[in-house]
Symmetry: C2
Subunit: 352 residues, 2 copies
């Protein structure tokens, strides 16, 4: 594979072009063969590029007269797909000018535009938003869907499981990722009808490139025992945000505790390196880069508040998924699944 | 009101009769006017009572030849309602022999038996499981439903809001609790149809004894800005367990960090009082006692792993709800809501 060229939406995210280009420059310094198409207000982009010589040499600039704001509704953003930096970055993926797009802008708008412009892969009914979360184990866990689909049927969930496992195989180098459905009990009879049906379908296909381990409860997501957690977008978003909010809650309490006395302030100073380790492990910038899985093209969402390091991580995720050809992997797994489902020996009926 | 008499299921919970009776003894030492009906294997109960003289003097013992185990399905438990300690404790509530029951046993069995034996309050279609969670603010937040109902319609959610607010008024002494729906965005158009319809109904009744503040995302539950968080039992259970699991995850990481070097071990020793504050704030025992709201009787679920202090807290919750007559409050609020819904000036149609 040639070195991947990646479109950067320079105008999204809290830090705007300065942060996005600093992130691209950092990603380039780590992977010098990367190439970029920087999409945004040309004057603003050129001004930032003048501060990053190597990046300027590795980049082309595409002027976008407009940008998507955080308040734009998806429908408003879609109408301005031909003029906004986000819209043009996705368009460049569609036209094969770049291998992937990275944006830190409005998630709903990015999802709607990516879906409309790139369309879903054959055999995929709906794309899903996936992200990596830290665990107590050696590997991050892949969670999906994180909000692209409020309601899902059993086939959607099975497709999410296949896509999430493909992502885990590439991002974490796990051969048969342990894959579970997010549920409110570990027993088989728990949860909605959709979950029970999805479990039956996954259990009926023991040759999939994943190990289906049944249900996982939300308090076990980050123990490191499962590699992929599958849910509808509503439950997944609730779980993701509850995890993020609680990590912040506990660290806020910890800070407050350390300020409660002179002795604990001294303890804090001594403990600083240990607390730094904790912060590094929990820092969202170190796990940045949510991926829209299931589209004809790679689109990565960087967190709006990510710093340059976070943006560089999101770009690295995009580059890895391009190099390891995530979408070819998903297409092959789906074909195997469909073939196995159609075979007369399959224990339960056909899929999708 | 007379001093409340409370039935204790002595056989539920990881610690069995020893923990349950130690918890009751602690609750009695804090509220000497409490009285108990201890339900369980008589020999085991008497043996423990011999170690708690004051409790023995304040208690009557009801022999139960059988008990519900953690593996029993709700249907199995229901068939043994007349012989198990859990079943007889709930039966005592129904017959007016006690004002409330406290059990640390199998949640699903307790819920099913309580619903079947006590039935729902007039105007309540389904009971909900509610609990208190710590926040950064001055008050705990009430969350419900935490797993009693996998799927809910808009009227269920409105009833949960009224019941949760009544619980917050009593448990937290807040006059008009800020009440929100758990959702995946703060904007009005987010989420399922049931949530949008419930929001419209709550917004149409500005005279309710609660302040409806719209949607809350799962990362804001513990910021202290809302007093009551309303959800279906699936989402609520996911959020609750994600919060519990992440709190444990961060403290596990913290412990690991402190062990990473000699210097950080010294820091840990100095910081111990500060970390103790953190532990007290997060300790589930200090927030123990989930309540089944909406039944003709008070039933409190103590956590299976709660220690004597946790059991004492669950008993204190039950006693407070009895003394302040939670169910009278809920019935009155429901009557007001129904009257307002039926009035011709109400902006939207009637409520179930």
């Amino acid at each position: 594979v040639d070195a991947p060229r990646i479109a950067i939406d320079a105008m999204g995210g809290d830090g705007g072009a300065a942060t996005m280009l600093a992130g691209a420059a950092l990603a380039l310094s780590r992977s010098p063969d990367l190439r970029f198409l920087i999409v945004g207000d040309e004057a603003a982009v050129r001004a930032e590029l003048s501060r990053h010589k190597a990046l300027a040499a590795a980049s082309e600039v595409l002027h976008a007269p407009d940008k998507v704001s955080g308040d734009d509704k998806p429908s408003q953003a879609i109408r301005r797909a031909k003029t906004t930096s986000m819209g043009l970055a996705i368009q460049a993926v569609k036209e094969g000018e770049v291998a992937a797009a990275v944006s830190a802008g409005n998630t709903g708008a990015l999802m709607a535009m990516a879906k409309l412009t790139l369309r879903t892969l054959p055999g995929i009914d709906r794309p899903a938003l996936a992200a990596l979360m830290p665990t107590l184990g050696d590997n991050d866990v892949v969670m999906l869907d994180l909000g692209a689909n409020t309601e899902c049927d059993a086939n959607n969930l099975v497709q999410f499981a296949l896509m999430g496992a493909a992502y885990s195989r590439i991002a974490m180098d796990i051969e048969r990722p342990k894959t579970a459905l997010l549920n409110i009990g570990s027993e088989e009879l728990k949860g909605t009808g959709e979950l029970k049906e999805a479990a039956a379908k996954l259990r009926a296909h023991p040759t999939l490139p994943l190990e289906f381990v049944g249900n996982v409860e939300a308090d076990r997501i980050n123990r490191g025992a499962v590699d992929v957690v599958v849910s509808d977008g509503f439950s997944g978003n609730i779980a993701l945000k509850a995890v993020e909010g609680t990590a912040r809650f506990v660290t806020d309490l910890l800070r407050r505790s350390f300020q409660s006395s002179f002795r604990s302030k001294m303890g804090f100073l001594l403990s600083r390196p240990a607390l730094h380790l904790l912060r590094v492990h929990l820092d969202p910038n170190n796990h940045n880069g949510a991926v829209f899985l299931g589209l004809n093209g790679i689109v990565v969402k960087s967190h709006g508040s990510a710093d340059a390091k976070g943006v560089a991580n999101a770009i690295a995720v995009a580059a890895k998924l391009v190099r390891d050809d995530l979408n070819r992997l998903i297409a092959a797994d789906l074909a195997d699944y469909s073939a196995a489902s159609a075979a007369p020996s399959a224990p339960i009926g056909s899929a999708a």
